[in-house]
Symmetry: C2
Subunit: 240 residues, 2 copies
């Protein structure tokens, strides 16, 4: 059943059943000078009203016969080409006035992708990665800026050290790489000795017998994620 | 705009825009023998199809002009009379087959109420509190059992010691009361000395200068929640 939007006025549209969409916030890191890193996220330019021409989170409507997690994976792949190895449901945004047309309830998802995946993305005039301090983020469609801010808050507060490491950096990483990710996330420099001590206390990462490849005199040791109980409702997109 | 459900067959209903509802899982404790406690939750008997006569989480449809959090507070108060001081959005459940009629997407909320609030509830044949091991929970409407299991998982994994204490016990509590709550939550006995040591290490509760009133020779000290950063999207129902 389709609703003839064109024939309804604003008041009528607002009393229609809400439309349901998914949007996904994906964070990845890009290295910058001095061994440091920055958090970036992909955005998609809207081609339809409302907010045509403005940048927005990748997403789209939920199909009548697909699960919410499948809708998030599908819309993400079709708009950005990204297929993160996991997606986590973040929060559902449903304020009555968050869309200027029909009421729109959006189920936001959250993902982290590795540096390699960020580098492999094909960008064009309608799909691109932006740093968190890019002015484009000040003028996003809908309440997408609020959704990004909430995802960033969750990233900073709720994810374990080891989980962040293996999702943003890959299976093996050095402590310096991990510290650079934390500095990017928190927006401040961290003392290397304190960082190392706190990290080891959490027991969320373990040392491997491997060292970073390269010509260094004393190559740094590689660590891996210790594993942990996952959220039972996390969408494992590898097994869908 | 209302949808004439009666005139649509099952296949037609499944392609309609999803209906949107809220459901709330509320945990409270009831004291049992030997200073122990049990987790209970309120359920409401359904008076309409689908699942008429079965017990379900309190909730109902989202009104066209109300926020999701307001819908959760309103449906909770109208079905159970409960007005918890805060509600947290838990997860949105939207599998295409979770309802036998029109597709139904439910935004689940989560709340904790104090022992005093549990005791003040008026129960009748259509609203009652149940212990987590009550056989009624084996045969709930929709996927409400799954929603309860997820809420329990979140309670066990994500909430700080101090937050649980002040939300389930009130502003002031003894360490023995808090341990009884944790034993009820985890379903096992805890060693009092280990519990006390671990709790103090988290710094989420602080000792007050007050002691439990009563005729005991050595009355136990009262503690309070140390306070902490809240989830910025938590619904503060006191200020809506």
């Amino acid at each position: 059943m389709s609703i003839p939007l064109g024939s309804a006025n604003v008041a009528e549209r607002r009393n229609m059943p809400p439309a349901l969409a998914v949007s996904t916030v994906i964070f990845g890191i890009r290295p910058i000078d001095g061994g440091r890193a920055q958090l970036w996220l992909p955005l998609v330019r809207r081609v339809r009203q409302p907010h045509a021409g403005q940048w927005a989170l990748p997403g789209g409507p939920v199909g009548p016969r697909e699960s919410l997690g499948t809708a998030a994976s599908r819309t993400l792949a079709s708009t950005t080409g990204l297929r993160p190895s996991y997606l986590e449901q973040l929060y559902t945004f449903g304020d009555p006035d968050r869309s200027p047309s029909q009421r729109l309830v959006t189920i936001a998802y959250f993902a982290l992708v590795t540096e390699a995946q960020v580098g492999a993305t094909v960008e064009d005039e309608n799909v691109a990665w932006f740093a968190l301090d890019d002015p484009v983020l000040e003028n996003l469609a809908f309440d997408h800026r609020q959704i990004i801010d909430y995802a960033l808050w969750r990233l900073r507060n709720k994810v374990e050290y080891g989980q962040i490491a293996h999702r943003l950096l890959g299976e093996r990483f050095t402590l310096a790489q991990l510290r650079a990710v934390y500095e990017a996330m928190l927006g401040k420099e961290l003392d290397p000795a304190n960082f190392r001590r706190q990290l080891k206390a959490t027991q969320s990462i373990v040392a491997t017998d491997e060292y970073l490849a390269g010509g260094q005199h004393r190559p740094p040791r590689l660590y891996r994620y210790a594993g942990s109980g996952h959220d039972p409702l996390e969408v494992d997109t590898n097994h869908e």
